[in-house]
Amino acid sequence: MSTTTEIEVVDLSLTPLRELNQRLHDLAGADGPRSWRITNPSGAHNIACGLDADIDVVVEGHAGYYCAGMNKQARVRITGTAGQGVAENMMSGRVTVDGNASQAAGATAHGGLLHVRGDASSRCGISLKGAAIVVEGSIGHMSAFMAQTGTIVVCGDAGDALGDSMYEAHIYVRGAVAGLGADCIEKELRDVHRAELGGLLAEAGVAGVDVADFKRYGSARNLYTFKIDNTY
């Protein structure tokens, strides 16, 4: 495959979004520019969704819904804020949001790393299926709802009902938790968790944060295992 240092610039005020996404999709297993810069996103939905190529994409500005959804391999960075469902169902690769992310950031994501430098809103990591999410700010209510596996690291605070009905995801929060959801409890932070947490902070490039300041939250395993008391 060709390796070019040229940056391909696409201005979304001039180029239709479908055309951009098709060009990005066409890179799956094919030659083409490896570095992309998307200008004038103006909150458009579905920017750089469904990528499956080892490429770098920088969205310069604010993205709408589902930016970098279903991402595989690609490294997507949004320099502004991201709307609902950023990196939704990501499989691998890395998505970085320099600003804040709206609701359902990283929803159902299977793999890869979602790094939010600002805050993430409600339902961050809902139904998480294996990806890692690192939020430097705070997260909103109902985050990690039914999260199955994967890791959520929050350097700030967490909103109400954290980890409600969750399965085996790992949640680490440095600040205050407004409230824990059903069957979510604080758990001991052991060496294996400190290593995981430190590794993710390093991978995201978050400096000046002490692993010892975090608390770990997880499932009490009273809800999802079969118990006759849980039936209606």
Partner: protein, 301 residues
């Protein structure tokens, strides 16, 4: 779905362009609400002792001169209307109760869209982008404005079922979401003397706020009361004489984004409606928290 936009000016330059910017924001929300569109704009205060009415007639050829003559005969002055498509704005030398009662009695086919000192409400069925052109929104100057694009779920697509809904003197409401206890609540509010003209759920939300404000609640108290008394989903934007407020239900599944610069404060269902504003790229942007009133006051009316 439905789309909401709100713009609050903090500079003369933005006040001069209020209608143009509102129009651009509204058009961005076209596909969130292609059924109907509406705006509330705050401008041109009526003189003390007078009331500004926005009236609507279903017939585009309606003869507004008859209303003017009737109002002049009843209250004096020269209430020449400012006609905008199917709507007409009158400044009447009477208080709100007398002015609206007169119009309703003399012209039962005419609907009162808003009453107050500064508010004007325009709303119609049809595509928001067509609404913006038809109502010449670009010409409007003012201090602040709300807009709504509707995708109906709870009641018929009609002019009266469109948003904003007036909730009393200079106050109005736009809504994204749906209320499920509106039938029972409507009956309770009717017993309190609140009038309803449609089967619309949002009208009940507006009527609820009208009732709470009438009973002496502050806007914040009225909004917090929604948490106990309204069942359903809502992101509300509320226009007042000198500002606007944003309020989301405790689940907050209906979207809302806010942004602020030195020149304006804006709210919208999606960022793309804010992206059309000057300086949006460098604005402070955040998402309003659930069950928390956000209020801006002190508009430059």
């Amino acid at each position: 779905m439905c789309g909401i936009v709100g713009l609050f000016s903090k500079s003369d330059a933005i006040s001069e362009r209020l209608g143009e910017l509102l129009s651009k924001m509204l058009v961005q929300m076209n596909d969130r609400g292609p059924d109907s569109a509406g705006v509330a704009v705050y401008r041109n205060p009526a003189p003390a002792g007078s009331t500004k009415l926005t009236l609507n007639a279903a017939d585009p050829a309606f003869h507004w001169g008859a209303v003017r003559d009737s109002l002049a005969a009843a209250f004096g002055g020269d209430p020449t209307p400012d006609v905008r498509a199917t709507h007409a704005v009158f400044v009447v030398a009477a208080d709100e109760a007398d002015a609206t009662a007169h119009v309703r009695a003399a012209f039962p086919e005419v609907r009162v869209m808003s009453a107050g000192s500064v508010i004007e409400i325009y709303k119609e069925v049809g595509l928001p982008s067509e609404f913006a052109t038809r109502f010449a929104l670009e010409d409007i100057k003012g201090s602040h404005a709300l807009g709504h694009t509707r995708m109906a779920t709870e009641s018929k697509v009609t002019t009266l079922g469109s948003h904003p809904f007036s909730t009393g003197h200079d106050v109005c409401l736009v809504h994204n979401g749906s209320l499920s206890n509106h039938n029972g609540l409507r009956e309770n509010l009717r017993r309190e003397g609140i009038e309803f003209h449609t089967e619309n759920d949002t009208e009940v939300g507006a009527g609820y706020l009208t009732w709470r404000l009438r009973e002496g609640a502050t806007l914040e108290e009225g909004l917090m009361g929604c948490l106990d008394d309204l069942d359903g989903f809502y992101t509300f934007a509320i226009g007042t004489a000198d500002g606007f407020a944003v309020f989301r239900d405790p689940i907050a599944c209906k979207p809302a984004v806010m942004a602020e610069t030195d020149d304006w404060v804006a709210m919208a269902s999606e960022f793309r409606a804010i992206a059309v504003l000057p300086g949006a790229e460098s604005a402070r942007i955040w998402e309003p928290a659930p069950a928390t009133p956000y209020v801006w006051e002190g508009a430059r009316v």
